[in-house]
Structures are given as C-alpha cells and as structure tokens.
Symmetry: C2
Subunit: 360 residues, 2 copies
C-alpha cells in the first residue's frame, strides 16, 4: 500500500520545499530564551543532526527580534519567527532575515496590521504560516460551534484577508490539544484549501502521552494523505520531538532514516534475552548520523531479530537480514534465505557487518 497524497501548492522556506510531492518536512522549536543565542544555536545544531529541517524561535520582544539576526547568520537551517500579540515583532524579524513568519490569528487580527506584515513578507519573498491553536482561537461569532469548526472558520477568514492583499505564500496549521479535534480540523481544511498543511497537536501534556497523542493524530492524517510538514510537540528536549517525528514518518513508509528493526515483544517461548540485543542493535545504529543512516536506506533495510520458531523464520525471511533464535543459537537469513547458524553473542556483530556489506 502506498499512501495517496493530497497534493497542495509548493511553498519554500529557505532551501526547504513544503507541499506538492516533496517529502514530509520535519520541524521543531528551540526551547531556550531566544536572547540566549549560544544555547539556541546549540539546539539548532542538535536538531539538524537529528534530522530536523526547519526550526522555529519565539520572538517575544524587540531584543529577540534583533538577536534573531545573529542566530540566523550562524544557522544552517531555515528559521521561523514565532510572533504573537505585536505585529511589529514580525516586521523586525523579517528585517532580521527570518525564513518564514508565523502569525497567530488569535492575537494579531487587525486588517491594517496584517497588511503591513504581508507587504514586508512580499518584499522579503518569504512565506507566512497562519498558525491557529485551540488555546487562542478568537471570535465572538464562534461561541457555539465545535473546536474543529472554530479553527477552520477562523483560518479561512484569515486566509481571505491575506489573499485580499494578493499574497498566497501561505502554510496553515490548526493545532488542538485534543486528538479528535485536531484530526477533524485538518480533514476539513484539507478539503477547503490548497495551501500546504503543517500538522501538529498542541499542549499534548507529559512527553509519553504527547508522543502517543501525536502519533495517533498525525498518523491518522498522514495515512489519509493529509499533511506536508509536521511538528511533534513534546514536553521534552527538542531532539526528542524530531526522533518521534522520524519514527511516525518511517512507520508509514513516508521517510527513512536508517534500517527498520523488526523484533517480537517476547513471551514465555523465548529462550534468549532478545530485548537486550534489540536494544544493543538500536544503540549501535543510533551512533550513525542522519546522513550516514540515509545511505543505508536507498530502499529501507529491514532487519529482523525474532525470539522463537513461531513467527521467527517467517519475519526473518521477509526481512533483508534476519535472525530467528532458538535455544542459544540463531539462524541467519539473508534476502529470504537461511544462510548459517550464528551464536547469540555474535549476532549483533554479524548483522552490523552484513549491513555494511549491503551498503557498500
């Protein structure tokens, strides 16, 4: 099965293209004060190494907007300025070299102010994200309607204003803190607009719950072909958001960041400490950078580590490389064929060597 992608207009953020048939783009946000430029740059560099493609920074005052220029000069990733309440911060951030501006229709809504920002965006030739959140959606005429409808209607009326200034370099996000509201809002929006969609769930709570909420909402939407760029919001370090985003995209065969490990959850049948070697292989692979991993992944390599004879030989055969363990030994499979017996303790080294051979 290949996902039937909902094709939207292509929008460029720095050197990254979002929409059309471009791969789904991974974004995250720096989580330290923008004024602490050294720590911001460190987070940007960590994010880049993890596979993040665009980073957003909070611009909460004119000092932030000014320091944005310094960060931008040293960042190899495109940077988005996150603006709330004061449209002049957007103007200053554009002046400082922002690659995209995010405005929140919940707190910057005066036509005159939007017009000024749009003029500056056009001059700088950079796009606008119209970014709604369930926590700040606005409009007295929206009182008795559902959250998804609030988000969609509010976005549509904002788009209308921006388009009235002949500006169409737009990305939309409609993040709710509820999975169901998020899914419904994006589904509606995907039908009503041709602009690319930035997917996310907002205010997801503790990191563990957040990962599950984001996986369900983003997973369900991506499965329906909806979504051009994603951010997994987690109450955790920014790189954790990128690892989760990678894993969501990999699960749906939309992106690849290295080999896939297939392994059973183990049960009373398992005679070896399978979980320990799954962790070991995972750790070995985490030592590779994204660029090294992606060379494993022309076609994504599938490596199976299976604990018994029930599904072991079957999954190992289906994988590019696999070991089906018995009591202390395992049977190595390559491209669907049983090759030789290997010992439990040798198995990781044998697999890593085989992977490098496949790669070479």
């Amino acid at each position: 099965m290949v996902i039937n992608r909902d094709i939207k207009k292509v929008i460029r953020v720095g050197n990254v293209a979002i929409g059309g048939r471009n791969p789904i783009v991974i974004q995250s946000m720096a989580k330290v004060k923008t004024s602490d430029t050294g720590r911001v740059l460190k987070q940007i560099s960590e994010l880049e190494n993890a596979g993040c493609q665009i980073v957003r920074l909070a611009i909460k005052d004119m000092d932030d907007a000014r320091l944005f220029r310094k960060i931008k000069r040293q960042s190899s990733l495109p940077l988005v300025a996150d603006i709330h309440f004061d449209y002049r911060l957007a103007l200053a951030a554009i002046d400082s070299g922002a690659d995209k501006i995010r405005l929140n229709p919940g707190n910057i809504y005066k036509k005159k102010e939007i017009k000024e920002v749009v003029s500056a965006l056009r001059l700088a030739n950079i796009p606008l994200r119209i970014g709604l959140n369930s926590g700040s959606v606005r409009g007295s005429n929206l009182k008795n309607i559902s959250m998804p409808d609030k988000l969609v209607r509010s976005a549509l009326s904002y788009i209308k204003i921006v388009e009235s200034f002949k500006f169409r370099d737009i990305i939309i996000s409609l993040k709710a803190s509820s999975v169901l509201d998020t899914v419904l809002a994006y589904r509606k929006m995907a039908k009503l607009s041709g602009y690319p969609l930035h997917l996310g769930v907002t205010a997801t709570g503790p990191a563990y719950a957040g990962m599950i909420k984001s996986s369900i909402a983003l997973g369900a939407l991506l499965l329906e072909g909806i979504g051009d760029t994603i951010r997994v919001s987690l109450a955790a370090k920014p790189v954790q958001e990128v690892y989760a985003a990678r894993s969501i995209l990999e699960s749906l065969n939309l992106r690849s960041f290295g080999p896939e490990i297939i392994s059973c959850p183990t049960c009373g049948r398992c005679e070896v400490d399978l979980i320990s070697i799954v962790k070991k292989l995972e750790k070995e692979l985490s030592g590779y950078s994204v660029s090294q991993l992606s060379c494993f992944a022309g076609k994504r390599l599938k490596v199976a580590l299976m604990g018994c004879v029930v599904n072991g030989p079957g999954e190992a055969k289906e994988a590019d490389l696999g070991v089906a363990f018995g009591k202390k030994e395992g049977l190595l499979f390559k491209n669907g064929k049983a090759v030789k017996k290997i010992s439990f303790s040798d198995s990781i080294n044998v697999l890593l060597k085989e992977m490098e051979n496949k790669n070479g």
Copy 2:
C-alpha cells in the same frame, strides 16, 4: 466528535465482555516461562494493577499446559492459552481451565485437529481466537497476493472451517509487522465479518518504535470505529504495554484511567521550569491505582499546566482545572474562571487538593 463504533457480536472471556458496545478491552501477555509459575503470577498481578483485563500465556509443551491450571487457580484475570503447532496443547489447556484459546492458522490447520479443539471449546463454553501473524501466514495459493489479503483470506477460510462445526464463539486478529498492512487487513476484515476484532501490530521492534507503530495503527483503526480489544506489543515489560494501551484509548476518549494533563511543549517564551512540574504532577498521579484513578474520571478531569500567556489562559479556561504561568506566579482557573494567583512552587499541591475536592 464521538467515534462511530463498528458493532460486532459480543464474546465473553471469563467475566470480560468483548464486542458490542462494551468498552475496548486491554490485553497483554506474560513474558516469562509459563513453567515459572511464581513469576507469571507476579506479572499477572502487576498487569491487573495497571488496568489489563485479559492475560495470555505461551503454552509450548505439556508441562506448560499442566501448570496453566495452577496459575489459573490463583489468577483473578481471565487467562488465554497461546497455542502453536500442536493442537493437543489446546486440548490440555482447555482441560486446565483456559478462558480462551488462541490458535494460529499458520501452524494448526488440519480439519480433524481443528474439529477436536472446537469440540472441547464448545464443551468448556469458551471462545477461540483465530490469531494470524504476518510472520506465520500459510498457504501456497497465497503467494502472489499482498500481505493484508493473505491475512484476510487465510482468516476467512479458517472461520469457514470453524463455522462448519457450528462454532461461532470467535475473535479474530490479523497482526502484521507493518503499520500499513495491519491497517489494511483489519479494515477489510471489519467489512467482511461480524466477529469482534483483537487489534495489534506484531514484531514492532524496539519499544520506542513499537509504541509509535502501535499508536498509529491502532489509533487509525479505532478512529474508524474498528477494534474491540487491543494489545500493544512492545519489546518491554508487560505493564509498559498496558500503559501504552491506556494512553491510546484515552487519547481517543474511548476509556479513561484518570485525569488528562494538558501542557505546552515550552518554548523561548516560558519563564518557569514547566516540564519539571508536569513530570511532578504525572508522578503524583501515577501513585494512584487504576481503581482510585477511575473515580477521578466520571467525566475525565482535564488539568492544564501552561507556560505562557499565548495559549495558557485559553487552555486553562477549557480545562476543569488549570494554571497559566507568568514569570513566577500562575493564575489558577477552575471550571473556566480565573480564581486566584498561586506561586510556582505551590502549584502542584494546590492542583492535587482541588482534584480531590472535585472528586469528593
């Protein structure tokens, strides 16, 4: 939005009803040798405390089948015997008091053997799970078709055999190691059969990837109204599978195991160490047992901990209880109304007290 449930026949496993309009049932599996009855019973008890409702045990030989009786006598949860290769193990497990038998059509397929097992199931008045896995699906006539079709066709022909013996006390599972194959297989099956579906992804790999794969596949299916019972297979301790299952069901408002914490991922705007108090609140709540938590959850309590003024007041207002933090203080919201300022350090204690009041 309420999910429109696909209504299937009700099947009983011990005192647990699966299908119909019954809440989605959470299952897991013991991961120690069945012969180690003490450790198995310990895992069952941990699983029960976490909210698991049915536990499966691997029965790999006649010793396991015999010891199953001893475990069953001391277990307060219904127990399923997981049978492969040898149908006589099913007969012995039924004799030992199993509450359900899982057969794998990939390795027990002779009509005569199925007939014997079905006769014993009927006599004991317990159901059968026809449990397929992508790693052990069988049939030379299924060579050139897709994995979802292999799983569905193989299940349908097995159901036909079982029904030919006038037995209809059946649950179906079609677990693939690929998210897309799993979703497609269950979607097809849901249309073709009225038996309840046990959802799961098999051989999900490392725990982290497994949680994301399971969240996407199970989440997408549950969102479509498909699925009556779930197991999240993880290369981790059994209770971790239950926590993940809980979180998936909670994310879709299908079950509730305590208050929902809403909190922002933080960014450069946040002036307090929000992540630390989110973790603290999460930890305080983890001290409650499932039965204590469910009394918080007549209507699921929503508690918001927000880090700034952008979405803070909005999310706090939407929640039953909420704090929107500024520099060092926060504004406490109750039922949508701002009540008073509280200090950062007091906030968790204030919230816990308010939660107990709401509960009382």
